[in-house]
């Protein structure tokens, strides 16, 4: 091979290397981690705790059924239900609380060691990211206490909002209430119509009309607020140099919380 051919080959190789450069970059590590919460939840200690909770719930259900019989009104029934719900949550906190705390510390420790700025639920990552499930499980299963990391998570370009808190903004809450009332009224009317319907085709038509009415109202009442919220999120995220915003429920560790900013923007 003469020098001209060598250069030509090198040149072509460079072209190929550049052509495939993006794919090569894809193997680079990112500061985004994810965890399979279902795998953590299936650890023996979580399963045992869940079985204990289930047994407690079965007993509580029986007591609830007996207590409900003495209810004299809907309000009374709701009060009893609330009492039993509180008892259940207290027990759940007592049994699962320490396990969750240990898992949370293990996630923080592993994330800190790997320099992750955010850890999310596996369900929302469909490509790439660092899977830290095995490391976290190994730390949870290790003997002795899990030591929390010294450092707090580094700033993340992945933001998050707590949708439940956003829903409490006065105008959103009001719109939700209006829509729920509408949906409830429609449901009752539809049930009356369904009770009178004589053929499956008639019933199907009634259900279709109901669904279309509900969808129409949803678009009219809620969609403008959904759009406004998304715009507010995008504006705030841009100002804070965030790349994406996800829901609080999908974030397990780190991330940048912009809930309060979005709430203020919507007021």
């Amino acid at each position: 091979m003469n020098i001209r051919n060598k250069f030509a080959v090198l040149g072509a190789a460079a072209a190929l290397a550049f052509a495939f450069a993006p794919a090569a970059l894809a193997t680079d590590l990112t500061d985004v981690g994810y965890i399979d919460q279902a795998a953590v939840g299936s650890l023996p200690q979580f399963q045992k705790a869940n079985a204990e909770i289930a047994q407690y719930k079965a007993q509580l259900d029986q007591q609830f059924a007996a207590a409900s019989k003495s209810a004299k009104s809907d309000a009374d029934r709701a009060r009893i239900a609330q009492q039993f719900q509180k008892r259940f949550l207290d027990e759940q906190r007592r049994v699962l609380g320490p396990l969750f705390a240990r898992a949370q510390t293990a996630i923080a420790q592993v994330s800190s060691n790997k320099g992750l700025s955010v850890v999310v639920d596996k369900r929302i990552v469909i490509y790439g990211g660092q899977n830290i499930t095995a490391s976290v499980i190994s730390l949870i299963q290790s003997p002795g206490p899990v030591v929390p990391p010294v450092n707090t998570p580094p700033p993340s370009e992945i933001g998050f909002v707590d949708q439940l808190q956003i829903d409490q903004v006065a105008k959103i809450k009001q719109a939700n209430d209006v829509f729920l009332k509408f949906a409830n009224d429609q449901k009752q009317q539809t049930e009356t119509q369904l009770a009178k319907a004589k053929t499956p085709a008639e019933r199907e038509q009634i259900v279709k009309t109901y669904q279309s009415t509900i969808n129409g109202e949803q678009k009219k009442v809620l969609q403008p607020l959904v759009d406004e919220t998304k715009r507010a999120m995008a504006d705030i995220a841009k100002k804070k140099n965030l790349i994406l915003v996800i829901d609080r429920s999908d974030v397990i560790y780190g991330g940048t919380d912009i809930t309060a900013d979005v709430q203020n923007a919507l007021k």
Binding site: N2, I3, R4, F7, A8, L10, G11, A12, A14, A15, F18, A19, A21, P22, A23, L25, A26, D28, L29, T30, V32, D61, A65, S68, R77, V120, R123, I124, V125, I126, Y127, G128, G129, E157, F160, Q163, K187, T190, E191, L194, A195, P200, R203, V207, K208, Q211, K230, M233, A234, D235, A237, K238, N241, L242, I243, L244, V245, I246, D247, D250
Partner: protein, 433 residues
């Protein structure tokens, strides 16, 4: 000079190639940093299996349209146990009302006789004759007649109410069984449709490479007409082959479905007849039991109405006085008894409502509907997972080709990052075309 020109040209080519590839997407730009996202809901809607998913969603929504029962769906054993408890409560309420009425009747009867006796003594008529007794017996006979008439009116009302309940129950069961049959039919139709879509998916995936190859060849502009025609006919043959397999499946499925509908209709009619016959038998037994119960009660009440024999030959004023006393106590007793009856009716109405709710007469989600919702949810989860798995595979391919490091779904807002939604949608659509 010449020898250095060639590598320069190769490098230039590399740069051109590179610029061609990278211009639309700089994955390392500060507002991207290797992050991409897919709007999953939109891609799912573009998937060929989405129509089935949507159908399942509609079915679940339709089932949920029935009013929500106050508590969780109950098992058959729980319903039976609670029914027994309600029956016991109803029987206790009946016995309580009967005992109170009997006690009141005795009290008023004693007080009436004491009042009559006091009136006779005060008028110096303690030895009054049999005429008065006959007169009182006439009153007693009238009372007995009234008791019997009232009991018969009660019995007729009961009979009518039981027959109305019987008819309502038969209608409700007929309706429920028809809805259930309809639901089963739709489920079967849906399963077959799912199978057809799956088959279509498999066929198109199996032939995807060959089809793509033919299309690539056909996109060559310099192809001679004979070769073009050959490729076109090969492509058409491929389409025909797939269509033929699918059509055969559809014809077979239609036959299966028609036979299934016929079988369901027969089974539903038979089940309605069976249930109706059981309900009618229960109704007849209830009416017969109430008839003998009413007969026994009339006899007992009439016995209770028999007054203490009165002295004979009473003067008219005395008879009037006694009749007045009798009327006064009857009125008082009726008013007092009415209160007991009202209390009992209130208790019974409450028990009836609880009984109806327990058995889903008011339209609460019955065990069968809850089971169907559960089954549909399972089916939905499976189908959704299948769709998402394919979206994941396609998104991973697109993301890798573009050099992204991580791709998210379920994003609330995205001021940065790369939106892969369109590319993934196109990818999925091209596979299934």
């Amino acid at each position: 000079m010449r020898s250095s020109n060639l590598p320069a040209a190769a490098l230039a080519l590399a740069l051109v190639f590179l610029s061609g590839c990278s211009r639309p997407l700089d994955v390392n730009a500060p507002n991207v940093r290797g992050i991409g996202y897919v709007r999953l809901a939109e891609v799912v809607k573009a998937h060929p299996l989405y129509s089935q998913l949507s159908q399942i969603n509609d079915d679940i929504a339709a089932l949920r349209l029935q009013p929500i029962a106050p508590s969780l769906p109950k098992t058959g054993a729980e319903i039976a146990a609670q029914s027994k408890q309600l029956d016991r409560e109803l029987k206790a309420a009946q016995d309580r009302a009967t005992a109170i009425l009997q006690s009141k009747e005795q009290t008023y009867s004693s007080r009436e006789q004491a009042a009559i006796h006091a009136a006779l003594v005060a008028a110096g008529e303690a030895g009054a004759g049999a005429q008065s007794a006959r007169s009182m017996q006439t009153v007693t006979a009238q009372q007995a007649g009234e008791v019997t008439a009232q009991a018969n009116r009660d019995f007729e009302a009961y009979q009518q109410s039981v027959i109305a309940q019987d008819q309502a129950a038969v209608t409700a069961i007929g309706h429920q069984l028809s809805v259930e049959a309809d639901r089963k039919y739709r489920l079967r139709a849906q399963q077959l449709q799912e199978k057809e879509s799956q088959l279509s998916l498999e066929l198109s995936q199996r032939d995807a490479a060959e089809r793509l190859d033919l299309r690539t060849k056909l996109s060559n502009l310099v192809l001679d007409s004979a070769t073009r025609k050959k490729y076109q006919s090969e492509l058409a043959a491929l389409d025909r082959k797939e269509s033929a397999v699918l059509d055969a499946q559809r014809v077979s499925d239609r036959r299966v479905l028609a036979a299934y509908r016929q079988r369901l209709q027969g089974e539903t009619q038979a089940a309605i007849a069976r249930q109706a016959s059981a309900i009618h038998a229960q109704t007849r037994a209830k009416i017969a039991a109430r008839r003998s119960e009413v007969g026994a009660k009339i006899a007992s009440r009439i016995q209770g109405l028999a007054p203490q024999p009165l002295p004979s030959d009473l003067p008219a004023a005395m008879r009037a006085k006694i009749a007045q006393i009798d009327q006064m106590f009857k009125t008082k007793f009726q008013a007092d008894a009415q209160k007991t009856i009202t209390d009992y009716e209130t208790t019974k109405a409450d028990l009836d409502a609880r009984y109806a709710a327990l058995h889903g007469v008011t339209g609460g989600i019955s065990g069968a509907a809850a089971a169907q919702i559960y089954q549909l949810n399972q089916q939905r989860a499976k189908l959704y997972a299948q769709i998402v798995a394919q979206v994941r595979r396609d998104a991973a391919r697109v993301a890798a080709a573009r050099g992204l490091k991580v791709v998210f779904v379920n994003v609330e807002a995205a001021p940065g990052g790369v939106d892969l939604t369109g590319a993934v949608k196109k990818d999925i659509e091209s596979v299934h075309q």
